[in-house]
């Protein structure tokens, strides 16, 4: 008898074996199914809901996948041999309820049990996203959610630039960008999507060029329009998240109203000289109802209290900080992880180097998102804001 056969016989005596059907039943009762085969084997198919950890890094990855040492683990490989070795390794690590699936994936498949072919990353994508793939909070499933994600950026300017750059780098698959403006030399102090050579050209075209150079897998959809009541719903529909980096109140209110109507999260950022704010307006946030922009500010301020950055100036680096807070929240929304800035406003005072968090209560009587409120329809936003100014 060869050494390996002697050893396998010892392991069989020590580790209880289950049939694939029993494994499936155990999984349904809460056991974790651990696929320890190689990546190329798993790519051919694997039981749904299993943890595809492979054998090489198994001991290093298992605690992130299954933190509870009492949870039953059903180890599986291709034939039922490697899974015995793997089970013993995990028993040594401290897991107490281990099983090995006899016959492995081959028998699982032959018995007609459910199989799924995990979507694959090509080697370049695997390398590009390797720092995401190694994190349990992202991993392959999370990266696939980012790739499937559709984010609309309102404004390819100070806030939209850093947000778009990092979202493209992170692999968010579809980025819509709305901006009707041309690149101006005075933009380049902070709008890092654009370049000196592109002064005078379309901002959305410039943004598309930069983002596709950074990550060719990202689909950039340009909308070279000024958002209005007539077109906004068509532009925003189909996106999972809206990042509002606009520079004027009519657009802010319009974006809010469309997001409320469509139920889409509105990741909000604004900057002014040395100060910035960020939050997520999302009345339909599944965890708790959040406020909308109108809950916070039912009406815009008069013009003399709200000069734009063009009139008041802005520290060039500041929108980098705020735009990236927006990008982080966007990625968290797509991944479905963490605590969002829903109902909370982060204020950043760059001169004092101080972050302050303020609560944003929702207004149950808000005309747009309040209890039982029917969507009141779009208004003339220019007029709405001009009237407030009067």
């Amino acid at each position: 008898m060869k050494a390996k056969e002697r050893r396998l016989a010892e392991l069989r005596a020590a580790i209880p074996e289950v049939t694939p059907r029993e494994a499936l039943a155990l999984q349904a009762q809460g056991a974790a199914l651990i696929d320890v085969r190689e990546t190329d084997e798993i790519a051919q198919g694997s039981p749904p809901g299993g943890h595809r950890l492979g054998r090489g890094f198994l001991e290093l990855k298992i605690e992130d996948a299954v933190p509870d040492f009492e949870r039953p683990l059903v180890m599986m490989c291709n034939s039922g041999a490697r899974s015995l070795f793997a089970a013993e390794d995990l028993r040594r690590l401290g897991y107490t309820r281990l099983f090995s699936m006899a016959g492995g994936y081959t028998r699982w498949k032959n018995e007609g049990l459910p199989v799924e072919v995990p979507p694959r990353f090509d080697p370049l994508a695997r390398e590009r996203y390797s720092r995401h793939l190694m994190m349990p909070e992202v991993g392959e499933a999370g990266q696939l959610r980012l790739i499937a994600g559709k984010v609309l950026l309102v404004g390819a300017g100070g806030l939209g630039s850093p947000a778009a750059m990092y979202l493209a780098a992170a692999g968010v698959g579809t980025l819509g960008i709305v901006d009707h403006d041309l690149v101006d030399r005075s933009n380049l102090q902070r709008q890092i999507l654009h370049t000196d050579a592109r002064v005078g050209t379309s901002k959305v075209a410039s943004a598309k060029q930069t983002l596709e150079a950074l990550n060719p897998a990202v689909k950039v959809t340009p909308f070279e329009v000024r958002l209005s009541s007539a077109n906004a719903e068509d532009v925003l529909r189909g996106f999972d998240v809206v990042v509002d980096g606009s520079d004027n109140f009519p657009t802010r209110y319009l974006v809010n109203d469309v997001c409320v109507k469509l139920g889409v999260p509105n990741v909000h950022g604004s900057v002014y000289r040395f100060e910035g704010q960020a939050t997520v307006f999302w009345p339909r946030y599944p965890k708790r109802r959040g406020p909308c922009y109108r809950c916070l500010y039912p009406e815009p301020p008069p013009a003399d209290l709200a000069p734009s950055c063009a009139d008041a100036g802005v520290l060039g680096v500041l929108p980098g900080v705020i735009g990236l807070l927006q990008a982080v929240e966007t990625v968290k929304i797509l991944l479905g992880i963490g605590e969002l800035l829903v109902g909370r406003l982060i204020c950043y005072d760059a001169l004092r180097a101080r972050f302050t968090e303020l609560e944003l209560p929702r207004d149950p009587r808000c005309r747009y998102c309040g209890n039982g409120a029917a969507f009141p329809g779009y208004v003339d936003y220019e007029q709405f804001c001009a009237r407030a100014a009067a």
Partner: protein
């Protein structure tokens, strides 16, 4: 008398000679804001309606809480509290 700190947002600093934090005295949020208004001409009308409520584009915070969720402008303050005036700011893109 209770002394609080009032944080002045950038758009209102022209009324406070550019100062970003001001000490004010008062037993309630309303009293502190009115004391501020007495010290800096023109400021009060930017923050409060003639009826003394925060204007539609302004929120007033005591610490991290919107006074709307406390007792409004009559919320009592304690020594060292921080009141923040937070107006709507649009700036972003172009």
């Amino acid at each position: 008398m209770t002394t609080v700190t009032v944080r002045i947002p950038t758009p209102l600093r022209p009324y406070t000679q550019g100062v970003d934090e001001v000490r004010a005295e008062g037993a309630t949020v309303a009293e502190a804001i009115h004391a501020l208004g007495a010290a800096y001409a023109g400021l009060l009308a930017r923050v409060l309606t003639p009826e003394g409520e925060p204007r539609q584009f302004v929120n007033i915070y005591l610490g991290s809480r919107n006074v709307r969720t406390l007792q409004g402008m009559t919320t009592r303050v304690t020594e060292g509290d921080v009141i923040s005036i937070v107006p709507a700011v649009a700036g972003g893109a172009t």
